[in-house]
Amino acid sequence: MGIQKNMFPRARIPYGTWGSSYFPAWQASPLAEVNIGQFAAEAMNKVLGLRKVPKSELDHLITGSTIPWHWKFWNSPMLASCLGRRVAGCHVEQACATGLKAVLVAAAEVDGGSSDVAGVLTFDRTSDSPVGIFPERRAHRRTEALSDVWDNFGFDPSTGRSMICCAGNAARKYKLDRKEVDELSLCRHEQYFKAQASGFLAKVLVPFEVLDVQGRVRGVIDADTGVARHTLRGLRAMRELDTCITSGTQTHPSDGMACMLVTTREKARELSRKPEIDIQFVAKAEVRTSPSLMPEAPALAVKDLLRRTGVAMKDIAVVKSHNPFAINDAVFAKEFKYNWREMNRTGCSLVWGHPQGPTLTRLLIEGLEEATDLGGGYVLLMGCAAGDVGIAALFRVG
């Protein structure tokens, strides 16, 4: 197999047409009480408005989320209507990889020539997740109830184990040191606050006023509520839930949305706020690791990705990871002998929370914006997903 340089030659991401909501912690904002799909679609319309992209440019919409929401059956077409643009599309779902998979599906649509401007809209509301009632004739209770967020955290049907158990297993396999993991977590939080103070986050995040049924402002989504200000001492003092896992070294559920566009090179120039910037899709990789070792999966995916592209870690300008556990980054750093301080320099999901669907989309947006600030280069994006899956993708900002 040859070196992969451009997986979707026709597709581009137009710089600066993206945006994400802040990710308030679950149950802590007005987003806890809305139809998140509708909110996300209306929010995307507003993001496009702010970015001076008429929504009439959209000819396809790829949506992504993981938690059932009201009228999910109608998925993309319904959300396109809420956005105000009646186009076709489809819904993508692959647990916490959804945010990246949706972008890749959109790129495939453009590359295949069936779309010229595909919207990507990812979102989720972990708050008050629905409870499904399922007839299970083989279960002794005959009918099983599933609380979609909480029960899935605690039970992988393939292995019978919890997410946190995966993290503990990985920490033990890689002989991680609790002290290092605490330091890593503190560093990640410091990186976030630094990015916030520099104004970086304001470039990619959009505040939204949420309305009630009477049209009055119910609240404003203008902060990643849930981000804690830790100290090393405080982290050290936290109770260990499993090896190297404390409440300070793992993420928290949150609500939110993120969106971007994928289009052709010509159209990207037309729509972009900086037409000279060319953002290409280089390659992606997906792996599935051994049972209950999910946190190592992203590193394995990156290995595959670098092997296929011939790109070395030293060539990469920006590394962003979805790290529900701090040990994800510690494992990656150990595998690649990479300084974990050089990753996630503008924040990550360990810090600002994890609404699942849009997490990797926001990470990608932050990564592309950071690479632009740095004058271009490769952006490596990785993350783990339920089922011991790892996903990684490489983008080139030129």
């Binding site: 509708q38 507003k46 009439s56 049209g215």
Partner: protein, 717 residues
């Protein structure tokens, strides 16, 4: 400022080039709009002591004499326009025994029946039944007319079928071949008379209620005069595509659609900003009318205007699509918006350029083509397109230079729209036609009349009224009547509360409004030897009543409802309503005035003689009385002099407690204002009551009351 124009000059051209009829020598600030209907001047009405046209004689002219009455045929009678107009005309023509034939396809959904509940509410079940009985429903196949129609002797056809030119023409052909000489009017909102080959009577929405009709005909006909005599408001316009109303309404919609295209802002939010800027909700209006039909009509008007005038009017892709799908602009109830949108000052400026820019340019076209009397153009926006202030009034406030710059800025965004831009039309802003959009004055060298063509009093009316008074003074007129204009204004509802918005936050603003408007009202008392207020409509309330109470005499038609509803809103009357009427009335009648002020319950004019009005009677008697009063003829009415001294022994509050806190607070504030302003001399009272009125407008009771909360909702987007 104002130029003296003479209504008697036969050589002078009317507003649209039609020569004026020779009348008695009457000078006017500008042409009275009544003249455009061939009904003479307002002063002539008072001089003659009767209205210029009577419904009975005009019914005879249009439909034939009793015993030989022909029918009014309305085709497309189950449609939105046809059914609304069938009900409206039937309710007015039924007493004259004019049969109304409602013609439609056999399968047309029952549009007429839908109106019955509303009809019963207005006229009672018995009255509604009579009206419905006068409507004869007939079906036809589109190719030939039902044979029984002949027996009803059709005299007038009001065509309300779909906006398809060929279909309409074919329709006329069928009727003309069956009934040669039949008078035909189309309700079309866009096609000129020259295309259709028939006259136009284009009614405004909502059709069962709105009294406005745009009329296209070479000269005013008996049919048009009949509309006027039946209490409706025909407005002559020239024979151009989409006339005036739909240039403004469809133009506003297109501007809003283009803003939506440029910004992605949802329609509902654009409506809010549009309402804040101009008063209209173009998208809500379409949904309310019925998106399917309204989208098509708007598209049709804009399409033809686009063909005629270019890109300024060309429908955009969004409207093209909605014309086909008939989809509504507002989301369904279960998708009530979740994400708010707002604008900063720069964005608001951009919004203004993108919306007012094209509307100003379209207005320049209306003016260039002399599509109607300027007062008509202005009023149509207010009366039919929800504009808070007419488009000419908005341009006038903006000023010629600023308005021109705004359009030029719009052209930078839409260079393709430059065609049909006539900035020179704005250079005439200083002329009386522009300056007196709402208030006119006429005189015959001895007596004058000031006419107000706006039903609510606002800053524009106040300024124009002052100019009208100045003009009459300059013309050395010492005896004056103040009245509605017998045309556009059919009642007087009080102050336009939209003007109060700045006063919500700044007591000085409220003080200015109350003081200045009160000073204007005082001029009716101080600046003329004799002033006579005339109430000829259904009602006269609030600020308008306060204004007219300043006249030396007040004459009203006997059934007019007079009231001071301020307490229910609540607001404290600020045009001297709290002391002036008390100063003119004997103490034994003060309890009546207290009741009026503190309960908000209106009174019939015939029950208010001697303490609120000086004379009440039938219309012709009122007109004659007004003329006697103003000319000094023997009228036998005593002059109720104003007691300038402090008033003593005012009655205790006789009103019952109010049902809500805001109204109770309003009542208390009004009572305080009465006591304070009556306790001083009339000279001092003007400021005292202004302070009370302004003070109340910054209070929480006002902010939470009907007006305060409505204003905030409208203007704090």
């Amino acid at each position: 400022m104002a130029k003296n124009s003479s209504a008697s000059t036969t050589a002078a051209k009317g507003a649209f080039g039609a020569p004026k009829e020779k009348t008695m020598t009457i000078s006017a600030m500008r042409q009275p709009t009544l003249e455009t209907l061939g009904l003479g001047t307002v002063l002539e009405i008072f001089k003659n002591g009767r209205l210029p046209a009577g419904a009975g004689e005009l019914v005879d002219q249009v439909f034939g004499k009793a015993g030989d009455r022909g029918a009014l045929v309305i085709s497309g009678a189950n449609g939105i326009v046809g059914s609304g107009k069938a009900m409206q005309l039937a309710s007015r023509l039924q007493p004259f025994g004019v049969p109304i034939v409602a013609l439609d396809f056999p399968g047309a959904p029952d549009g007429l029946g839908k109106h019955y509940p509303g009809l019963a509410k207005t006229f009672g079940r018995e009255g509604a039944g009579r009206i419905m009985e006068s409507i004869i429903r007939m079906s036809y196949n589109g190719h030939s007319l039902p044979p029984q129609l002949k027996g009803l002797k059709p005299r007038f056809l009001l065509e309300a079928i779909p906006e398809i030119l060929d279909v309409k023409k074919e329709h006329y052909k069928i009727f003309r071949s069956a009934f040669p000489g039949l008078d035909i009017r189309s309700v079309t909102s866009g096609f000129p008379s020259s295309e259709l080959g028939v006259g136009i009577a284009h009614p405004a929405f909502p059709h069962e209620i709105s009294k406005i009709w745009e009329i296209v005909e070479p000269k005013p006909t008996a049919g048009t005069k009949l509309l006027w005599a039946l209490g409706m408001v025909p407005v002559p316009v020239s024979d151009n595509w989409s006339f005036v109303l739909d240039v403004l309404f469809c133009g506003a919609t297109l501007a809003a659609l283009r803003y939506h295209q440029a910004s992605n802002m949802p329609y509902w939010k654009i409506d809010k900003y549009f309402r804040k800027l101009l008063g209209a909700n173009p998208f809500r209006a379409h949904d309310a009318i019925g998106a399917k039909g309204a989208n098509f009509l708007t598209w049709s008007c804009l399409h033809h205007l686009g063909e005629q005038y270019g890109e300024l009017f060309r429908p955009n892709a969004d409207l093209d699509d909605r014309k086909e799908t008939g989809s509504e602009y507002y989301p369904l109830n279960h998708f009530r918006p979740l994400v708010n949108w707002s604008m900063g000052p720069e964005e608001e400026e951009d919004f203004k350029v993108r919306t007012l820019g094209p509307l100003f340019q379209m207005t320049s076209l209306l003016l260039h083509e002399k599509r109607s009397h300027l007062t008509h153009i202005n009023a149509i926006g207010e009366l039919c397109a929800q504009f808070r202030r007419g488009i000419l009034s908005v341009i006038r406030t903006e000023g010629c230079d600023a308005a021109t710059k705004l359009v030029n800025k719009y052209h930078k965004l839409h260079p393709e729209a430059k065609k049909c831009w006539y900035p020179e039309t704005f250079e005439k802003i200083g002329t009386p036609e522009w300056q007196q959009l709402y208030v006119n004055a006429e005189h015959d060298g001895s007596a004058g009349v000031i006419t107000i063509s706006r039903e609510s009093y606002n800053g524009d009316v106040d300024a124009e009224l002052n100019r009208a008074i100045d003009w009459l003074k300059k013309e050395k007129i010492e005896k004056v009547i103040i009245s509605g204009d017998f045309h556009l204004s059919t009642q007087m509802v009080g102050a336009d509360t939209a003007d109060f918005y700045p006063a919500l936050k700044d007591v000085k603003e409220g003080l200015c409004i109350s003081r200045d408007w009160s000073k204007t009202a005082r001029r009716l008392n101080d600046d003329f030897k004799v002033s006579v207020g005339y109430i000829g409509g259904k009602r006269c309330f609030g600020g308008c009543l306060e204004l007219l109470l300043h006249c030396h005499y007040l004459v009203s038609v006997e059934d007019a409802s007079l009231g001071m509803p301020e307490v229910t809103l609540p607001v404290v009357p600020g045009m001297e309503g709290c002391h002036w009427p008390l100063r003119k009335t004997a103490p034994e009648k003060w309890p009546e005035l207290f009741r009026l002020l503190l309960t908000g319950r209106p009174v019939r004019a015939k029950d208010a003689v001697g303490w609120l009005v000086d004379y009440a009677g039938p219309v012709d008697a009122c007109l004659k009385t007004v003329w006697k009063l103003v000319t000094g003829a023997d009228h036998k009415l005593p002059l109720r002099k104003v007691n300038a001294s402090p008033l003593k022994k005012l009655p205790k509050d006789t009103a019952q407690g109010a049902e809500d806190n805001a109204v109770e607070a309003g009542k208390k504030a009004i009572l305080e204002c009465i006591l304070a302003s009556c306790a001083v001399t009339s000279a001092e009272a003007l400021l005292v009551q202004a302070k009370h009125s302004a003070g109340f407008m910054v209070s929480s009771a006002f902010h939470t009351g009907k007006i305060g909360s409505e204003l905030k909702k409208m203007l704090e987007v």
